[in-house]
Amino acid sequence: MSGLAKTAVLAEEGGNNQNRKRSLHITEQCNNKRTKSDDMSANEKKSNFSLLNPHSNGSVKMTSSSMNKPGAATKKLVIKNFKSKPNLPENYQETTWSKLREAVIAIQTSKAIAYSLEELYQAVENMCSHKMASQLYVNLTNLVEAHVKANIEQFLSESMDRQVFLKRMDDCWRAHCHQMIMIRSIFLYLDRTYVLQNPSIHSIWDMGLDLFRHHIAMNTLVQTRTVDGLLLLIEREREGDAVDRSLLKSLLRMLSDLQIYEEAFEHKFLLATERLYAAEGQRLMSELTELAVPQYLAHVEKRLREENERLLHYLDPSTKWQLIHTIERQLLSEHLSGILDKGLKALMDGPRLADLTTLYGLFGRVKDGLVELCKHFNAYIKKKGRTIVIEPERDKTMVAELLDFKEQLDHVVTTCFQRNDKFLYSMREAFEYFINQRQNKPAELIAKFVDVKLRAGNKEATEEELERLLDKIMVLFRFIHGKDVFEAFYKKDLAKRLLVGKSASVDAEKSMLSKLKQECGGGFTLKLEGMFKDMELSKDINITYKQYITPSQHLSAVAEGGGLELSVYILTMGFWPTYPPVEVRLPVELTRHQEHFTKFYLAKHSGRKLQWQATLGHCVLRAHFTQGKKELQVSLFQALVLLLFNDGDNLSFEDIKTSTNIEEGELRRTLQSLACGKARVLSKAPRGREVHDDDHFAFNGDFTNKLFRIKINQIQMKETSEEQKATEERVFQDRQYQIDAAIVRVMKMRKALSHNILITELYNQLKFPVKPADLKKRIESLIDRDYMERDKDNPNQYNYVA
C-alpha cells in the first residue's frame, strides 16, 4: 500500500511534483494532528491497521522523511495557474468505477486483477480529486456489503459439526480481512482524504468490520454457534484434551476486533468458568481427605497456571482479572476454612514446608485468605501447645518439647510464611496463651531445665550451644506470666549450684542472669545477683579469717582437731531460699570452730546475727581402711554419723539418732547413703536397702575403692509436693509485697485515683496473674497503714498520703 503511495508521488512531474509533495506532506501533518486530537478513534484505526499490516507505519514515516531531503529545497518553485481547466471525459465516473468494481470483485472472489494496482490507485485518486469521493465511498460500501451478506449463507445451514463451523468461520474471517486489506490499499487515497475529512464516516477498514459485524457476527444464530463452539473447545481443553489453540486465538481475536468480545463472549465465558470451578471445588472438597490437602492445593495451582496460559495463548488480556478472580473465588475463597480444617494440622505436624509455602502463596491471593490462615495457625498452636503443657505425664519432656515446637514454628514462619509479622505476632500470642493454661508448672519446669543445663557435668554442649539454648529458653520464659514462680525455683536451684560448687561455668551463670535482668529488670534479679555477691564476699571473709587465726593464740586450741580447715559461706537472709533451721549436736571440736568464727564475724559486722545451716554443710574426712587411707567427701550429716564410729563400733539407729540429734527422716537417708549406696563405708545388720529403727551399723574396714577421693552422694529427698507447695506459697507471699509496692508507686505518682483506674494501672504493672479481690485486700491494708486514704466525699477515690 505504501509502495503504491510512493509510486504515485514519483509519477508526478516537475513543479507540479513539488507542489504535490508539499500538499501530501501537509495532509500527513494534518493527519498527525487529527490523530492527536481524536485519540480514541485514531487509536482504534491505528490498532486495526497495525494489527494486520505491522509494517505500514514504518513505511509511511519513510515516505515523509524522504520528502524532506535537503536537495529538494534548493529548487526554485514557481506556481502558475492552469491556462484552462482540464475537462474530464463524459462517462469518466462510470468507466472508472466499473474498473474499480471489477477489481474489487476479483479480490473478493480471489481472482487475478485485470489492472495494475498503480492504475487503480490513480483512478481512485483522480475520482477523489474530482469530487466523486462520496459517491465512490457509497459504491464501495454497497459492493462490500453485498459480498459480506452473501457470505452468511454458509453459516446458516442446519446441521454442522461445531469444529467445521468454527473452521469455516475462521476462514471467512481471514478472507474478509485479507480482502479488506487489499481493498483498502487500492482505495488508500479515499481513506486519506475523504474519510479523514468526514468524522462521521468509518474508514474503509472499519467499514468492512462494521459490515462483517452487522451481517455475520451479530446474527444471533451465527453468534451463538460461534460462542458455544468456542466455549465447548475451551471446556474440552480444561478437561485435558488438546485443542486447536490457533483457531481459538484467531476467532477470539475476531471477536475483539469486532468489539463484541465482551458482550458476546466474555460474559458467557466467565459464567461457564464459574460454574465449572464451583462444581469442581465442591466435588473436590467433599471428597477431600486430610492427606489429600496438598494434592488439592497443587490442583488449584495447576488450574491457575493453566488459565494463565490460556490468557497468554488466546484469551483477551482484559479478561485476566475476572477469570483469575473467579477461579480463586470458587476454588479457594469458598473453601478457606474447609481446607484449613482438614489440612493445616497435618501440614504443620510434618512440617511439610513446600506444601505450606504453596498454601501461603495461594491464600495470599484471596481476600481474608491470610487472615483465615493466621487464625487457624493460631488455633493449631494453642491446641497442640496445650497438649504439651497440660498433661502431668509429659512434665519430664515439656520444656524440650516446647523448645522443639517453637523452633519448628519459627522455621515454618520464616521459610513458608515470609516472616509475616501477623503470623509472628499470632504465634507469640498463642504461646503466651497456652503456656499459661497451666499455672506455675511450666515456669517451674523451665527453671529446672535451666538448672540441668547450667549444672556441672553437663558436657553435652559447648559454650556457644549453651548460650543459644539459653536464648531459646528465654523466649519461652517471656511468655510466662508467673515469672516470680520461675524466680523462686530458679533461685532454689541456683543456691544448690553455688553452695555445692556444681555450677558448670560462671560465665554461663552470669549470662543467664543478665538475660533475666534484661527481660524483667533489675528488681527481678536483685536477689539473684545478691547471691553471687554473697559468694564473693564469703571468699574475702574466709581469707581474712585465715589471716586472723594464723597468728592467734587460739590457734593451738583450734588446731587441736588435727588441722581442721574451716571455710564459711555467709549468705544474706532474704536473698537466698529459706531453709528450715535444724539443730544438730556437733562434736565439741566443731562447736569450738563455729564459735570462734562467729566471734570473728560479729566483731566485723555489728547488729547482725548468724544462723548456721547444718543441712548445707560439707566436709572432707580422712578415713583409715585396712586397704589404706581415703578421703571422703561427705555432707555434714554424713560426717557427723561417721565421726561417731571413732568412739564406738556397732551402733544402733537409736544411738546415732540421740548422739547427733539429726531429724529421723534425714538420718535414715544419711545412713542409707553410707551403708546401702555405692560406697559402703558402714555395714548394716540386717542387710537391706531400707533403714529400720532396730538396725545396727558398724564400720566397714574392708571398704575398697580404686579412687583416693571418694564422694559419697547424699540421697536426695524427692521434692515432695509439700515442699513444692511451700515454694509456691512463698511466691504468693512475695507477690503481696510486690502488689503493695506497685500500689504505692502508682499512688505516689498520681496522688488521687479512682478505684477502677488504679486497678487498671496495677494490671499494667504487675507481671503475674492476680485476682481483683486480692488487689482490693492489699489496698485495704495500705489504707490501714496510712499509705493512702479514701476520699471523704467520694468513696470510690483514693488519695495518696505522703
Partner: protein, 111 residues
C-alpha cells in the same frame, strides 16, 4: 558372701585398728545465714521485713550493686529497730520511738 560372714570379718578387722582414729575431719565447708539481730523482724513503720528494703525504697526500685545496703537497720536505746530510712522520716515529725514512746536516740546502726 553372706551377711553374717561379712559382719564377722568386719569386726575382726576393726579390733586391730581400734587404737587409730578411723575418721578425722580435714575440712569443713559450713554455711551460715546472716540477718539483722532484731527482736521483731518487721519494721513497725513500713511493715516490711527489716531484711528487705523498706517499702518506699522498693517503690522507687532503688538499685545499687549492693541491693539493700542503703536501707540498713537502726536500733534505738530502747532496743527497738526500724529501717533507717523509715526512722529518719519518722523523727522529723516525732522524736519518739513509735513502739514505746521513749525519746529516740540511736544506739547502733547495722553494718
Amino acid at each position: 558372701m553372706s551377711g553374717e560372714d561379712f559382719d564377722a570379718l568386719d569386726r575382726g578387722d576393726n579390733d586391730g585398728q581400734k587404737s587409730d582414729k578411723m575418721f578425722t575431719l580435714k575440712k569443713w565447708n559450713a554455711v551460715a545465714m546472716w540477718s539483722w539481730d532484731v527482736e521483731c523482724d518487721t519494721c513497725a513503720i513500713c511493715r516490711v521485713q527489716v531484711m528487705d528494703a523498706c517499702l518506699r525504697c522498693q517503690g522507687e526500685s532503688k538499685k545499687d550493686s549492693y541491693g539493700k545496703q542503703d536501707c540498713v537497720v537502726v536500733w534505738g536505746e530502747c532496743n527497738h529497730s526500724f529501717h533507717f530510712c523509715c526512722m529518719s522520716l519518722w523523727v522529723k515529725q516525732n522524736n519518739r520511738c513509735p513502739l514505746c514512746q521513749q525519746e529516740w536516740s540511736i544506739q547502733r546502726m547495722g553494718k
